[in-house]
């Protein structure tokens, strides 16, 4: 552990805890969306990913607790670090809630359409969109597209054949036939749909000077 290697190096210690906390926050955001998506599409596969992310969250939460205890030397430290721990607890509680939502799959939500009805009416909806052959989004990376900035829709997962890519990284290149699981408003979905079906060209902006 870097903490033991250089106990006096405050920078290093912060970097580590910071990375832990950043990852916890990232998971806390995507895991709830994935849990709702699992319910909405009645998908055990997405549910399994939620549980997988949940155990990653537990590991991170455990790790951050250990770091905090080791870092605490004075009462002042303890007060400040306890605040950090509480934030971590909050993120972990969200992932726990997401796990509980996924466990509702056992109750066969498909038999009670109320859940999908509610999820479809929510302000920010979760929808599916297939990338057509005509779309010029295909062959481009998520980084170059900036889909969310352009359309307001966030890609929470991609289904490619029988494979899933959850919370895709910027380096992922979109392919024809990809099913995008997206979250956002009705308006934004309409715009994304036009690009994904090839009805409209993906906008290209002039390169800004240095």
């Amino acid at each position: 552990m870097p903490f033991f290697d250089s106990p006096d190096d405050e920078e290093d210690e912060h970097l580590t805890v910071r990375e832990l906390l950043t990852e916890m926050k990232d998971i806390s955001e995507v895991i709830v969306d994935l849990a709702y998506a699992a319910l909405l599409f009645d998908s055990q596969e997405i549910g399994a990913e939620v549980h997988h992310l949940g155990s990653r969250m537990d590991t991170l939460n455990h790790e951050i607790k250990i770091r905090m205890m080791l870092a605490s030397r004075t009462k002042q430290d303890a007060v400040q670090l306890s605040v950090l721990l509480q934030v971590a607890e909050g993120a972990a509680a969200m992932s726990k809630a997401a796990g509980d939502i996924v466990d509702l799959l056992e109750l066969n939500p498909k038999g009670s359409p109320i859940v999908s009805l509610v999820l479809k009416e929510a302000e920010e909806k979760i929808r599916l969109q297939t990338l057509s052959e005509q779309s010029d989004m295909k062959g481009k990376t998520l980084e170059s597209l900036s889909v969310e900035t352009e359309t307001g829709m966030r890609i929470i997962a991609i289904k490619r054949g029988i494979r899933w890519i959850y919370d895709p990284e910027k380096e992922v290149t979109l392919k024809e036939g990809d099913v995008l699981v997206v979250r956002g408003t009705e308006d934004g979905f309409e715009r994304l749909r036009r690009f994904a079906t090839g009805m409209e060209k993906w906008p290209v902006y002039p390169q800004e000077g240095p």
Partner: protein, 195 residues
């Protein structure tokens, strides 16, 4: 939609707003916003109780126990999410200066929270969120608007933005600069963005 569906919808949307507000309050060490999370929690508790009651009543009437269980457990889980938001906002309400690492890591996440001020020449001044299609055009989703000393939490498509307003938004990092330019009036929306 029946009353039960509407209440479920409200707790889902409220829980998400609470999470966004909680992280915003933490990032800006803003007690007003943290206090709102607390207020919303009271509303969540109320709704959760009503949902439970109505779901049980429905089960008595139509004997569909699984459906009632599903609804009660979903409401409970959504309640846990709002509880998590409370935990986070509570940090700000306790008046302990947040550890700098918290703010640093909040700025590094995939989804950032930021605040911009609406300038006099901005397209946003005097327009509703719905007309501007803020989320669609910038990727940034409005969480709250501060107008003078007042706040509008969870603004909707009919909410008007005014010069001097501070918008608290959530979205991808690469949407931030564009929104900032739009807000201070250095760039403008094109007609095609508004249709």
């Amino acid at each position: 939609m029946g009353p039960l569906e509407e209440m479920l919808l409200e707790i889902k949307d409220t829980s998400e707003l609470m999470v966004d507000l909680a992280y915003s309050s933490l990032l800006y060490n803003n007690r007003d916003i943290a206090e709102e999370v607390n207020q919303l929690d009271a509303r969540m508790q109320e709704l959760e109780n009503d949902i439970q009651e109505m779901a049980v009543q429905n089960a008595v009437d139509d004997k569909d126990i699984k459906k009632a269980l599903l609804i009660i457990r979903l409401a409970q889980s959504v309640g846990e999410i709002s509880g998590a938001a409370m935990k986070i906002a509570d940090v700000v309400r306790r008046d302990v200066p947040p550890h700098p690492v918290i703010q640093l890591s909040l700025r590094e996440t995939d989804i950032i929270i930021t605040a911009v001020t609406v300038g006099v020449t901005s397209d946003l001044a005097g327009a509703t969120l719905g007309k501007i299609k803020l989320a669609t055009n910038t990727g940034m989703y409005a969480i709250a608007i501060r107008r003078g000393r007042r706040y509008i939490y969870g603004p909707d498509q009919y909410t008007m933005m005014m010069e001097g307003d501070t918008l608290y938004v959530r979205g991808p990092e690469d949407g931030e600069q564009y929104l900032r330019d739009l807000a201070n009036g250095t760039v403008h929306l094109e007609p095609k963005d508004l249709k």
